[in-house]
Symmetry: C2
Subunit: 471 residues, 2 copies
C-alpha cells in the first residue's frame, strides 16, 4: 500500500530504529549531503537526532534527482523504508545508528541559502562575532543547541527545587519608577513622559511577596547598563530567585540555598550526562556536607596556600574564588563551597548585618568550580532599621514607597538568593564567554546586529547578503 507524503504520520528519528522494513515518513533539516557514486546520502536532523537517508536512483529516480540539489538546512519530508545497517556500518554516535532510511519520495518544505561557513563539524569553529552575527543559523548547530538544552533543564530543575521548598511562583514587573538598589547603572525608559527604568533585579518585589506567600520563586529579567564589555556580563540577564520568610535563623537559609543549588546542578548533570561528556565536563563532586567558610576564614586559607596577604581585602577576586574552590575539591571532595559574612558595606542596603559583628553581614555566595553561581543574604525585616540602612547607603526611602509598605505592615525574618541563569549555564559547561549561554545576548556592542559597523564593513555585509540570496 502506498501513502502520499502529506497524509502519513511523521515518525521522529529517535523512533526509527524499531521500525525495520517499514515504510515511514520523517521530516527535518538536511545536516549534510554526501554523494558516493550513484548513491546520495543525507544526514537528516530532527529535534531528536540524526538519521542517514540514502537515495538510490534504482529505488526512486525522482527522489534521487531532487536529492542531488539538496543543501544544508533545507527542510524536507522524506518517505522511505527503514533498513537495518550491516554490523560494521553501525554508527554509535547517532541515535538511529543501527538503521538508515532508503528514500522513496522527498518533498522540499523550504530551501536554504548556501551557508556562510561550515556547520557540519562536531564543533563550530567560528569567532564570537560571527557566531552572533549569524545567530539564527549558529543556534542550529548541535553543539550550540545543546547549551540551551542544558539551560532549559536548569530552569526546569530550578522550578522543581523551588516547588520542593514549597515556594509559589510569582511574576514581577520589569518597569520601575523611583527605586533602584544603587550601584549598577540603569536603562531609562520614556514611560508616557514619566521617568522610568528597567529593574536591576526582581529583588524588591520578591521581598514584598514574602508578606503574601511566605515563600516565593521567580524567573525574571535583570538589566544592567554598565558600560563594560567582559566575558561575564550581559546587559539583559535572567535571574532565578527564591525568597523565604519565617526563617528560624541564618543557617536555615544556608541549608536552603545549598539544597537548591546542589539539586539543580546535580539533576541537570544526571539528566544530560552525554552533553556534559561532550563538553568535557565531569559530573559535579557533591559531598554530604558542603564546606562553609566565612569570608575571613576563606581568606586565611587562601593566604596560607598562596602566601598572599588578603587581610585588607573586602571580597574574593576571581583568582581567590578559584583558589578556595581548589581547596574545597582537595580537602572536602566538593565542587561547591559556601562563603558567608561579606562586609556589610559591600552589600546592598537590605542585607542584614551580623548582630554579633555588624561590620560583617549575614550574606553568602555559593561558589561552584571557581565561580560564584548564587548570591544572597538574610534581609533586614524591621521597618525602622531598613529605613536607617537606606539612608546610610545614600538611598532615598521616598523612592521605595511600595517596598517599604511591605515592612510597615509586618514582615517576618526572611532571606533569599538568586542564580544567574546564563552564568550558571556557562559554568556548568565550562564555556569561556557568557554570551555563548544566551540565545540572543545583549551587550554594549550589539542588539542582535552589531551597532558600530564601519562603512566598509557595511558594504561587505550588504554584498554578502545579496550574493547569498542569489545562490
Amino acid at each position: 500500500m502506498m501513502f502520499a507524503v502529506d497524509i502519513m504520520e511523521r515518525i521522529l528519528v529517535k523512533n526509527t530504529s524499531g521500525l525495520i522494513n517499514q515504510e515511514i515518513l520523517v521530516q527535518g533539516f538536511v545536516q549534510a549531503r554526501r554523494d558516493h557514486g550513484k548513491l546520495i546520502f543525507i544526514d537528516l536532523r530532527d529535534r531528536t537526532g540524526l538519521l542517514q537517508v540514502v537515495f538510490n536512483p534504482r529505488v526512486a529516480q525522482d527522489a534521487h534527482k531532487i536529492a542531488s540539489n539538496l543543501r544544508p538546512e533545507y527542510a524536507v519530508s522524506v518517505r522511505g523504508t527503514v533498513k537495518k545497517r550491516p554490523e560494521h556500518m553501525i554508527n554509535e554516535k547517532i541515535i538511529s545508528g543501527t538503521v538508515e532510511l532508503e528514500a522513496v519520495e522527498i518533498d522540499i518544505l523550504s530551501k536554504a541559502d548556501t551557508l556562510p561557513f561550515d556547520m557540519g563539524g562536531e564543533s563550530l569553529d567560528v569567532e564570537l562575532p560571527t557566531l552572533l552575527d549569524h545567530r539564527a543559523l549558529t543556534l542550529r548547530h548541535e553543539r550550540v543547541k545543546k547549551i540551551f538544552e542544558i539551560q532549559a533543564a536548569i530552569i526546569e530543575e530550578f522550578r522543581r527545587a523551588s516547588l520542593d521548598l514549597d515556594c509559589t511562583e510569582v511574576v514581577v514587573p520589569t518597569i520601575a519608577s523611583g527605586a533602584t538598589e544603587g550601584g549598577a547603572e540603569v536603562f531609562p525608559i520614556d514611560y508616557f513622559g514619566h521617568h522610568a527604568f528597567l529593574t536591576q533585579s526582581p529583588q524588591l518585589y520578591k521581598q514584598i511577596m514574602v508578606g503574601v506567600f511566605e515563600r516565593v520563586f521567580l524567573i525574571a529579567k535583570a538589566y544592567r547598563a554598565e558600560p563594560s564589555v567582559t566575558t561575564r556580563h550581559l546587559t539583559e540577564a535572567t535571574q532565578m530567585d527564591i525568597e523565604i520568610g519565617f526563617i528560624k535563623d541564618f543557617t536555615e537559609l544556608l541549608d536552603a540555598l545549598e539544597k537548591v543549588g546542589v539539586a539543580m546542578i546535580n539533576n541537570v548533570s544526571e539528566k544530560h550526562p552525554e552533553i556534559l561528556k561532550e563538553f568535557g565536563v565531569d559530573k559535579p563532586l557533591v559531598p554530604t556536607k558542603i564546606p562553609r567558610l566565612t569570608l575571613r576564614e576563606a581568606q586565611e586559607i587562601i593566604s596560607k596556600r598562596t602566601n598572599r596577604d588578603l587581610s585588607k581585602e573586602m571580597d574574593l577576586n576571581p583568582e581567590d574564588e578559584r583558589e578556595i574552590c581548589k581547596w574545597a575539591r582537595t580537602e572536602h571532595k566538593s565542587d561547591f563551597v559556601t562563603i558567608t559574612h561579606f562586609p556589610t558595606k559591600k552589600r546592598a542596603f537590605y542585607t542584614m548585618p551580623d548582630p554579633a559583628d555588624p561590620e560583617y553581614s549575614l550574606s553568602y555566595d555559593l561558589l561552584f568550580r571557581g565561580i560564584e553561581v548564587l548570591s544572597g543574604s538574610e534581609r533586614i525585616h524591621d521597618y525602622d532599621q531598613l529605613v536607617e540602612a537606606m539612608k546610610h547607603k545614600g538611598v532615598d526611602p521616598a523612592n521605595f514607597g511600595i517596598y517599604l509598605q511591605a515592612f510597615k505592615y509586618g514582615m517576618p525574618p526572611e532571606g533569599g538568593f538568586s542564580f544567574g541563569l546564563e552564568r550558571l549555564t556557562m559554568k556548568l559547561l565550562e564555556l569561556t564567554n557568557v554570551r555563548e549561554a544566551s540565545l540572543f545576548p545583549r551587550d554594549m556592542e550589539r542588539i542582535d546586529e552589531r551597532f558600530s559597523k564601519t562603512e566598509e564593513e557595511k558594504e561587505v555585509l550588504q554584498k554578502n547578503k545579496s550574493s547569498e540570496r542569489n545562490n
Copy 2:
C-alpha cells in the same frame, strides 16, 4: 518538658489538627484579634491557612498580656498546646477548624502599623485605586492572594502542557533594536546612546527558535505603550507562547491549541475547585470536540441569533464574542469555541494567508466564556513570501535581519499561539479588571504609585503616612 520558642520546629497550620494535646510552635501573621472577656482569640494566618489561637491568662499570663496588644499583620511565633474543639465549635471554613491552639508563649517577630482599612472581611471592599495604592498590603488578603495562586497554577499547567507537546523552554530578549511588528506603540529605551525599545511580544524570537528546537515554549513579557486606559490592557503583560514546526497542516495547529488551552484551564480548575467556588465560577464545560467556526460562519450564526448584519465586519467585537460563546454553550455544551480565518489584512505580516482564499488567513482565536484567551496562526515560512508580506504591510525588512536570517536558511511549515497570563487569570475568576490579575500592574497612570497626584492629594498622603508610622 519545655522548649524555648526559638529551637522548636515550626508546624504549618494545615498540619495542626493531627497533633491534639501536643505542644507545638506555629508562625504567621495576625489576621484578626477578638477579646472575649478574659480570653483573647487571634486568627493566625500562615501560607497554609488559618488557626485560632486562644490566650488564657490562667494558662500563660505573659503571653496573654502580649496578645492584648496584637494588631492585624503582626508577624508572630506562638508556642502552645493543640486542643480539640467541641463538636459545635468546629469551623469548617478554615483548614484547622477542628482544633485551636492554647497559647503558652508568644514572640512578636515584627510589628505592623494600624491598617488603613479593614482586611478582616471575606472580600476586600476597597476601590481599585486603593487596592493598588496599598498593593504590598492588599495582596495579603486571602481573596486577593487566591487570584495569584490561580495564576501560579496557570503557569505550571501551561508548562506541563507545553512539555507534553515536546516543546523546549527558551528565554528570549525584551530589548530589541529595529524590529517592531507594527501596530501598537512601543516604549523607547536609551541603550548606550543607540535607539532600542521593549519588545511588543516574543513572537519573532520564538519563530527563530523553531529552526533550532522545532517546538518551543516560553513565558515572556510583552510591552504595549498604547495610551489607553481600559479594563483589559496592561502596558507590561505576561505572555505564554508556543511555536511548533513541521506541522502537517492548519488542523494540527488547531488540535494543539485546543489541547493546550483546554488542558490548562481544566487542570487549574480541578486543582483549585474551592477557589473557583469562592469566586462563584463554575467548572468549565468541555465537550469531546471544541466547536470550530470560521469568522464568517460565526458571524452568520450571530446574525441569525441577534438580527444584526455583520457581513461588513472584519472581526468579532466583544458583544459578538459573548454571543458566539452563548451559542457554543447552548448548542455544544462547550465553554470554548475556536474561531478561524480572520481577514489577512487584520493580522500581522507573518500570518499565512489561506491559499484557498488569500483575503482570509490561517489564523485563530480560542474564546472562553465570552472572551479571547488565545490567539495565533500558521506563519509564512517562505523567505520571499515573508519579505513580500512585510513590504505589503509597510514594514521594512532591513529592520528584521536576525529574524529573516532564520527563514533564509530553511524554515519548515510552522505556527503557534499565545495566551495572555493576566487576561486568562482575569477570565478564569471572572474578575472585572485585568489589573486585579497582575501583582504590580503597569498602566498609563501608575508604576506602583500614581503619577499625577495633585498637591492636595500629596499632602493628605503625607499626613496619613506620618500618622500611620506614629501609631
